[in-house]
Amino acid sequence: MAVLTEEQTMLRDAAKAWAQEKSPVTQFRKLRDSGNADGFDRAVWKEMAEMGWAGIVIPEEYGGTGLGTLTLGIVLEETGRTLTASPLLSTALIAAGAIALGGTDAQKQEWLPRIAEGSVVAAFAVDEGPHHHPGTLAMTKALSGTKRFVADGGAADLVVVATADGLFLVRGDAKGLTRQVLHSVDSRGFANLTFDNVEGEALSAPLDAVLDRARAGLAAEMLGTATQAFEITLDYLKTRTQFGQLIGTFQALQHRAAKMYTELELTRSCVEAALAAIDKGANDVPQLASLAKAKASELLHLVSNEMVQMHGGIGMTDAHDAGLYLKRARVAEALYGGASFHRDRYAGLMGY
């Protein structure tokens, strides 16, 4: 863990306590089983906003705390641990970050205070096909076409839309906007959004900068998810007995656990470096964001698979949490570009 400020340490401890006590995986399981169409509980989101989390990247003059992306990443890591379903990433990091970055004063006045208080849920609509190709978007400023697999797209009161002509802010009740709520494997609130000459307001933030915030923030959440999945698995290795032995005494399993731990440590360095670079406005943000997202995708893929395998039979059942981690893993791995997208982007950025 990076060397944190006192404020960050307090926030992390508070987020950890809240996530583990008030929002454990059993809460997510209940939400899933309730068939909630939003993919998250609005009362819970309000509660998170009351703790100030929705305003972490929002400047104080617009109702936030302006603590920055690394600080929000710390909270995302803790909520990611327990698979807490909330618009923290799409609203508090991506949309709020985009508006804070490129919004006019009027846009900031209109949206940021309401995001900070938790009364506006915002989504980020970018992909148009089954894969992430933000460099070749078909939608233009005419705002017609379909955006696929939009996180929190079903519930959004505001949509940040990526087009070939830049970003646009579209109100959730805009004429010509229709939604198809998706039942994704991770039971979150994804939707396809279809636009038919919808009215939007240009937002002058660069798409890449917004995407890189999304990638680094999601990587932080994934780091938390992988960390908790690993700890649950490690705990099982220390309690499950076979052949009269704790299975954690078997070297084949020990070495796989040690390799996962190595990957966790390597990924943590990348995630923290990407978040810190965003706050500093460093010029290697694109490279670090791709590094963080690629590493987090590979890490979570590995750990979620090993979680099922090392739990044996119980890991295959719906009653156990391993499946919930595996299902969230696959969605998060692909969102805003999987490892192969980011390897290609990284190579391009580095000039080969």
Binding site: A2, A258, Y261, L266, T267, Y352
Partner: protein
């Protein structure tokens, strides 16, 4: 100006004044007879470039070869922040490393922790100034991964110790002046029967034989001790208390040999080699599969570099290296093996040379480097042993019964 920034100005001025002209901007270091480009110092150092000697003398006198060691023992007495500034300024000036030294990387830190005041005053200043070159007497023919199974006998003869036995994989024993050595002082116990002792390699009864590796180089030796007499004051710490010191030293060794990624900075950069030997299409390395694997490797390398930096920052808050350094050794070995394999692959048939006129020096180096890198996951603790260390000490998993 903060203290650190005023130190930066001082360091920069000192380097400007004292770095010999022929070494400025990464000039010739003066290759040594070991066939590498490090300056190891010692009584038997051969200097092909006298400026390298001058640079070592100046840096040693300043204590900046061991910047954070106390000035009382010849060190630089710098804070961690100042030492980092010094490192940055030396890098900026492209100054060659003044001294490569097992004394600085491994022995010194444990002497500071475990040795008597008399031993510290005797040995540390000579390490700092590069006057004495040290080697490491750890592994034996029958004690590799199971290091505590070592059998070199050290018998108390009343007024001296008598040492008999054999060590193996002793790095550069044939060039070293002194050895730090693990010996058995009690045959009735395993870990609790080991002691840590220092002695002069010119003592009668010591023989070294270089071992030729698959890379063609001989960085390691077999070392034999026959009735070697050593003064009892050379024992460090408690009699039969050497295992704790041995393990501590291994942490420093694993941290140091791997924190630079096994010297991955040098040589041909992979993407450049791939562009040169494979070709370019639309600005990309023409072989898409190779390009992807190179990118994946470069990302691992960056992740590794960020992790080393993070662990160093975190270690400042604690004291000394954490058990997590074992992941660094494990990861560094894999990284360097992947890098050297990719480099050979990228060069195609030009990467498959051994020596002779048909190949450029960097092509020979690529193959030799790949072969040498096979040792990375064996030397200083095998990758399997390092994974065991992580499993037990970091993750708290138990030994199989």
């Amino acid at each position: 100006m903060s203290d650190v920034e005023s130190f930066r100005a001082q360091a920069r001025a000192w380097i400007e004044e004292n770095l010999p002209a022929s070494l400025k901007g990464g000039g010739a270091r003066g290759l040594t007879d070991e066939g590498d480009s490090y300056i190891w110092g010692g009584r038997r150092a051969k200097w092909t470039n006298p400026d390298a000697k001058l640079w070592l003398e100046r840096m040693g006198a300043k204590g900046w070869t061991a910047p954070t060691w106390p000035a009382r023992y010849g060190g630089g007495g710098l804070s961690a922040a100042e030492a980092r500034v010094l490192e940055q300024e030396l890098a900026k000036a492209k100054a060659p490393q003044a001294l490569a030294s097992f004394g600085i990387w491994m022995l010194g830190p444990v002497l500071l922790e475990y040795a008597s005041e008399e031993q510290k005053l005797e040995h540390l200043p000579k390490i700092v100034r590069g006057e004495i070159r040290w080697c490491q007497g750890y592994s034996e023919p029958g004690a590799g991964s199971d290091l505590a199974g070592l059998r070199t006998q050290c018998v108390d003869m009343g007024d001296h110790y008598l040492i008999n036995g054999a060590k193996i994989w002793t790095s550069y024993a044939n060039y070293a002046d002194w050895i730090f050595c693990l010996v058995r002082t009690d045959n009735s116990k395993k870990h609790e029967g080991i002691s840590f002792i220092l002695f002069d390699m010119t003592s009668p009864g010591i023989e070294t034989r270089p071992i030729k590796l698959i890379s063609g180089n001989s960085p390691f030796c077999e070392t034999f001790f026959t009735d070697v007499k050593e003064p009892k004051r050379n024992l460090v710490g408690k009699l039969n208390g050497g295992w704790e010191i041995a393990k501590r030293l291994l942490q420093y060794e694993r941290q140091n040999i791997s924190s630079g990624g096994f010297g991955a900075g040098g040589g041909y950069d992979l993407p450049d080699a791939a562009k040169d030997y494979v070709g370019i299409e639309n600005g990309k390395i023409a072989d898409a599969d190779l390009r992807t694997r190179i990118a994946a490797h470069k990302m691992e390398a960056q992740a590794f570099g960020l992790t080393v930096r993070r662990l160093q920052e975190e270690a400042k808050a604690q004291k000394g290296p954490s058990p997590a350094t074992s992941i660094v050794k494990y990861a560094a070995a894999k990284l360097n093996q992947d890098r050297t394999e990719l480099l050979v692959e990228a060069m195609g048939s030009q990467g498959l040379g051994w020596d002779g006129d048909g190949y450029k020096p960097e092509e020979i180096m690529a193959m030799r480097g790949m072969l040498r890198a096979k040792a990375n996951s064996i030397e200083g603790g095998t990758s399997e042993i390092n994974l065991n260390v992580v499993s037990k000490r970091v993750l708290g998993l138990l030994d199989h019964q």
